[in-house]
Amino acid sequence: MNIIVPVKQVPDLVEELEINDEGTDLERDMLKYRMNEWDESALEEALQLKELHGGTITVLTVVSGDADVDEMLYTCVAKGADRVVKVVGDFEEQHDSHTTARALAAAMRDMPCDLVLTGVQAADDLDGQVGVLLATFLDLPHISVVSGIEVDAAARTATVHQEYAGGIMATFEVDLPAVLGVQASRAVPRYAPVSRVRQAMKTARIEEIEVGVAVGSGATVRRMFKPEAASHAEMLEGEPEEIVERVIEILRERGVWRV
């Protein structure tokens, strides 16, 4: 089974995010990047399906500007991806989901594909989710917010669960090839031991595919800013013991807890 896993890097939210001087983007010099956590789940699902059904996993990522994606791709190899591919071209510095999806679609044109697994969303999806855009450009069926994937390789179908609020789930059967937006993998995304990553750095090959696509999402950023809090909590200070007493007092005052 040929599984394609498009992934991307996003700014790591552990860092404090600052806005650039122009006020239209993040201050990128200070940023640390990490693989989109939903893409990590998608890759984990791909690895689990490969263990069950055999096949190859191809990881794709779209590169723009000087973004360094190599370490991320080697980590994917260390986890068990068979091919890792950089999609390059004349893209703007910080590409949007539409450009990314177009570039992926162009790169995937000649790739054998039974299933596309990608994270359901990413933290910087200002103009929508890449997986769904990609599916539409490729004219493939798509289902988002997926957990629980079962593949019937012989029948060329997959049975998936789409999650709604409150634990309600819809079950769909979809013809393959299809694009699934993964919400959660069946197991916690595996850890890639550093020795494996370093070995991948020495022995694995990162392929490159060059494409030319239209750039832009049709919307422009007028202003990027940190939202002003409409209000803010009253902060409780002091030693833990003092804070705990204060909390109990508050609970009593508000009639929440009658003791």
């Binding site: 700014p11 995010l17 993040l26 539409h98 359901v120 969303q121 910087d124 999806d125 200002l126 103009d127 929508g128 989710q129 769904v132 855009l133 539409t136 450009f137 069926p141 798509h142 988002s144 917010v145 789409q162 709604y164 609020a165 409150g166 634990g167 309600i168 079950t171 769909f172 059967e173 013809d175 299809a178 937006g181 919400q183 049709g218 919307a219 422009t220 950023v221 007028r222 202003r223 800013f225 940190k226 939202p227 809090a229 409409a230 803010h232 909590a233 009253e234 902060m235 409780l236 833990p240 804070i243 705990v244 007493e245 909390v247 109990i248 508050i250 609970l251 508000r254 929440v256 807890w257």
Partner: protein
Amino acid sequence: MSMAEHDVFVIAEHLEGRLSEVTFEMLGKARQLAGASGGRVVAVLLGHNVSTLAARLGAADLVFTVDDAALAAFNPERAVQELKALLSKEQPMLTMIASTSMGMDLAAALSAALDWPLIAYCSDVQAQDGKIVATSQIYGGKIAVEAESQGAHTIISVLAGVFPAAEGQADKVPTVQSVPAAATSAGRVRFKGLTVPEAGDVDITREALLVSVGRGIGSKDNIGLVEELAEALGAALCASRPIIDSGWLPKQRQVGKSGLTVKPKLYLAVGISGAPEHLQGMKDAELIIAINSDAGAPIFEVADYGIVGDLFDIVPLLSERLVEVRA
């Protein structure tokens, strides 16, 4: 100039025979926008035997219904086909879709299919000088973006819980226009059934006191700490998405966009940062107390009281004191 050039379309969302709250929230906002643009508010309802639901959409000037057995349950492929046909015919100025599980399959697909700009995760939208300008919340709610659509027709996906639902509810009966289904062939996506979780587990939407745990708890083995706190308080335990995704608590305990919306008397958030998807599920709680080691965590913007500290110091102490005081 088509009639719809100033229209605001709202894609209604429903599940298990009930319209979702966010549908009314979008209708209310659409009323405001259409009032300014001089266009109509048009609701679009896909489903089967939907006349009862359609009647509740009185805040709209017009309701298009596509009533077909194949649309009885939500089907991403069919829904996109129907909406694409309808929207490309009507060409509205703005189409509003909920930023929910169902909405995710619709908004981006329509944007790609119709080549209309999409602005996602919107907490506000306005028409300025004939252009749609939306405010989007990204990066876990830490950053806001004001984006301007460059197209004549725009799609936005709207965060649930941002606009007041009351504005979108009206007693009047709307004008309903039935539209024949566009798709005829069997699709590549087939609905197989709906699973509703068993009753028997706690219904957190009915609990007065909730202790909610987030990523800050670190590992499954530490969940015991918040279980003790919940017990000491007489509260039920719930959680944010990462905890549920990791399987540490069952799905019925999830609070947030893809979980449940709760309005308890007390919501004690432990180790939760407060991404918008979570906030929308709990911000209307009467009393919100949050514990987080990060002073900049967005949860502190909706909380009434905040504690910047180590939950591993505070939580056991609080449990202990509560038990002592009770005794």
